[in-house]
Amino acid sequence: MIRFLLRRTVTMAVTLLIISALVFFIIKLPPGDFLTNQIAELRAQGESASIAKAEFLIRQYGLDKPAWEQYLVWLGVMPGPNGFSGLLQGDWGWSFEYDKPVVDVVGDALWLTLLVNLAVVIFIHLVAIPIAIYSATRQYSVGDYIATFIGYIGLATPSFLLALILLYYMNRWFGISIGGLYDAQYAGEPWSWPKIQSLLSHLVVPTVVIGLGGTAAMIRRMRANLLDELGKQYYVTAKAKGLGPTKALLKYPFRMSLNPFIADIGNLLPQLVSGSVLVSLVLSLPTVGPILLSALKSQDQFLAGFILMFVAVLTVVGMLVSDLLLAWLDPRIRMGGAR
């Protein structure tokens, strides 16, 4: 077990290193960077004071150095203008666009993103699993067809469109504005009970909108998995023992059909951050998605690089968690091969 964890940790570190290189060089691929673009713009307007500041920043962050040198400094394995100060030392860098450290830009947004998407994941599972069980156990019944039909609509509806429609009608019928994650008056306020209440009431619509597509997909997959398992002999054995239908179903085929979803946790975590960008834009949610989008557009390299690395870490850790969970839940994986 210890050996397994050690081995995994080493491969994780190597994977992250490769990802960081890829991330950095892909961001650097388009010609120029945020500051040189800005300087060109300022020159055109003839503002020499700002130009001086921009040129100072270029030197400060070493943007005049070759890309590989910038990469090593960003990583923190090579001394930059400020000595060793990079990701490894916990210095996420400077956002030129916001003119603030990356930590301050991302800070709250990161936690709100995780919150929104966690709510989405819980929503998906709470809604999808019972519907999937219903539809699988009553295959080809009217209820199954209705669930299937609604599922396909859910899959086919673009979520940003649904967001726009809800935005309009919620305001018209109930007079509530669902944009943002809390009322405008709380923006910039410290966290307080009314602010949390406001947050929770604003959370409902984004959760449903973002979760709908995922719910529909999950119903389809769960139904298919369960149908496979329902035909298995061990389920007949359980029924022949005299177990009631619900208990037999939940203890045996349902548990077996969960495996692919546990294996999916690794993919789920990064989606928590990078998914739902469109909906966040439409509903003007203060999440990481829109920030990442604008950072990539304006070549705000340290900000974009940090968010992408964060997603990468989540992916790798998620994979490890799902592997460990699988081994814990499924004795065949835990002890497999020993036979």
């Binding site: 050996r3 002999q233 007949v236 022949a240 023992k241 005299g242 045996y252 499924d330 004795p331 091969g337």
Partner: protein, 621 residues
């Protein structure tokens, strides 16, 4: 007379399919007396399993009991219930199911959940039906596991099904069924998936438990040998109806119905005369065989295929988290010789290494040591050193027939494509010539040439196996490796395929290496038989002398364990009870082989060789 445990009266089960209603069980009437074993016999598709499912009301959703009654007389309280009138999910039905009527299934592999421990699954059966706490349930589970022969019941509680052998899994299933002390046990092909020695032990166990608890058993099987050994009464089914029913004596001594007579003639038995032929229930005529152009054979000096000191080990990794590995020797110094035009039978239980040997002969696996020599008339050559043209020629000369006719034919290819594929790969003939060749092949295996445009799924198991044989013959091979070619087939079809193989050998001068676990089948088809156990060839002899005078303890156990469909030759259960015949280090002297040793083959009469331990061999010398 005492009332029977279960009276089945006019039972009718209908399946609703897209093509309309299908009557799987049609007016079935029989009784299961108290404390007796009733065997339900028939080919697959005869409705025997559906009958069992109807008794427990665990039919699939498409099936419905449309008529008749299932009167269950519970001896414990004298009550009498009509099961057919109970709703499938009523409390009364739940109490009966697993509580008063329990069932065990054919596949011990898939009948237990791999995610739950044996202890959990067995104690659950008790806790559903009796008001006991987990601790008591665990104690009772250990008692019953001990009774069915688990060596360490306490450890078994925490074992998962995949850690157990097939035999132990089936014992766990029996423990699960019996922990509630049911009045009726339904056993649906309980030993079909097991090796013969294990089969004998499981049958013995069921018999013993029946005497102890006084329960009745409904045994569903297609194996007349099993029926002859354990049944008190026999019901023969065909297409959902009863063909014949009666006591075991009556059925075996005095079979009346032509179907039953035909079924009995189709099963290979040990006592068959030298040139006696099996009679399949539905005979297949092979049109071309008499006129088949026997290839011009070159006579070789020695055997056509020879295997010398073949050895192969596999490395196993134990567990996901540990880096530990284990060496397993699958094949240990195997020597075999296959004379041209003859059949060599290779017999052994599952996992003994017989398939590994056949794969090494095919050159699908590379041996660690030893040689495979093939002689096409130009002198023996080492198969594993062949290259280029010589290798292609070898591949053409040796073909394989697989066990499973369902998965060995590509479902997306027509019969024509399947049969011409070998010709295309080896670039033989023009497309007209290939067409002629394929027509010829189909006639040889007794199929109509209208089959050419059809896909494999539209054929029955036996027809598919004949397609597999036709495909193997496409390249005019000299040797066929048959890996359990009939063990996935029904008894009625088995005879067809065996006869076909015999006829083909006579007409084309083929040599067969026939791998099987079924001794009666090997006895029917082979000239020489080699018995394999744990990677060793333990005994090799011409079939007459092997069956007349089996010397090795493993061969003796194997022979004693085969149930013969002849009530005058019952199984000797006491002899098989002692147990460990497949452990080389526990064989009695002079046969004992210590781990790491190979032992030596010793000839005791002409052509009859037995493996001895090193020590005793040296003493003898």
């Amino acid at each position: 007379m005492e009332a029977p445990i279960l009276s089945v009266r006019q039972l009718t089960v209908d399946f609703s399919t897209d093509a309309g209603n299908f009557r799987a069980v049609d007016g079935l009437t029989f009784d299961i007396p108290k404390g007796k074993t009733v065997a339900l016999v028939g080919e697959s598709g005869s409705g025997k399993s559906v009958t069992a499912q109807a008794i427990l009301q665990i039919l699939s959703k498409k099936a419905r009991i449309t008529n008749g009654s299932l009167l269950f007389n519970d001896p414990s309280n004298g009550g009498s219930i009509d099961i057919a009138a109970l709703p499938a999910e009523s409390d009364a039905m739940h109490a009966l199911r697993g509580g008063r009527i329990a069932m065990i299934f054919q596949e011990p592999m898939t009948s237990l959940s791999p995610l739950h421990t044996i202890g959990d699954q067995i104690s659950e059966a008790l806790m559903i039906h009796a008001d006991v706490d987990q601790a008591t349930a665990n104690q009772r589970t250990m008692d019953v596991l001990n009774r069915v022969g688990f060596p360490d019941p306490k450890r078994a509680l925490r074992t998962y099904p995949f850690e157990l052998s097939g035999g132990l899994r089936q014992r766990a299933m029996i423990a699960m069924a019996l922990i509630t002390r049911p009045a009726l046990l339904i056993a649906d092909e309980p030993t079909t998936a097991l090796d013969v020695t294990t089969q004998a032990q499981i049958l013995d166990l069921i018999k013993e438990l029946q005497v102890e608890t006084g329960m009745s058993v409904l045994l569903i099987t297609h194996d007349l040998g099993v029926v002859a050994n354990v049944a008190d009464e026999v019901v023969v089914m065909y297409r959902g109806r009863i063909m014949e029913a009666g006591s075991r004596e009556n059925i075996f001594r005095n079979a009346q119905h032509p179907y039953l007579q035909a079924l009995m003639r189709a099963v290979p038995r040990f006592a068959m005369a030298e040139h006696e032929r099996l009679t399949p229930i539905r005979e297949v005529k092979s049109a071309r065989l008499a006129s088949a152009d026997a290839p011009k054979l070159v006579q070789q000096a020695g055997p056509i295929l020879k295997v010398e000191r073949l050895t192969k080990s596999f490395t196993l990794r134990s567990g996901w988290f540990s880096g530990k590995t284990r060496e397993i020797r699958a094949v240990s110094e195997v020597d075999l010789a296959l004379p041209a035009g003859k059949t060599l039978g290779l017999v052994g239980e599952s996992g003994c290494g017989k398939t590994t040997v056949s794969k090494m002969i095919m050159r699908a696996i590379t041996p660690d040591a030893g040689k495979v020599l093939f002689d096409d008339g130009t002198g023996p050559k080492d198969v594993h050193k062949l290259e280029g043209e010589a290798l292609t020629t070898y591949r053409r000369s040796v073909q394989f027939i697989f066990q499973d006719p369902f998965s060995s034919l590509n479902p997306r290819m027509t019969v024509y494509e399947l049969l011409t594929e070998p010709l295309r790969i080896h670039d033989i003939g023009t497309s007209d010539e290939r067409y002629e060749r394929v027509k010829h092949l189909l006639e040889m295996v007794g199929l109509d040439q209208r089959a050419l445009r059809r896909y494999p799924h539209s054929f029955s198991g036996g027809q598919r196996q004949r397609l597999g044989i036709a495909r193997a013959l496409a390249l005019e091979p000299r040797v066929l490796l048959c890996d359990e070619p009939v063990s996935a087939l029904d008894v009625s079809v088995q005879a067809q395929v065996l006869n076909l193989l015999k006829d083909l050998q006579a007409a084309l001068g083929l040599s067969y290496l026939f791998v099987s676990h079924n001794l009666a089948v090997v006895d029917y088809i082979a000239d020489t038989i080699a018995v394999m156990c744990r990677g060793y060839i333990v005994e090799e002899a011409p079939k007459s002398s092997l069956f007349r005078n089996p010397v090795h303890p493993y061969t003796q156990a194997l022979l004693a364990a085969v149930p013969d469909p002849d009530i005058d030759r019952p199984l000797d259960f006491t002899k098989l009870r002692t147990g460990r015949f497949s452990q080389p280090s526990e064989w009695p002297e002079p046969f004992r082989i210590q781990p790491g040793e190979f032992g030596v083959m010793k000839e005791i009469e002409p052509g009859h060789k037995v493996r001895m331990g090193r020590l005793s061999a040296r003493e003898a010398a």
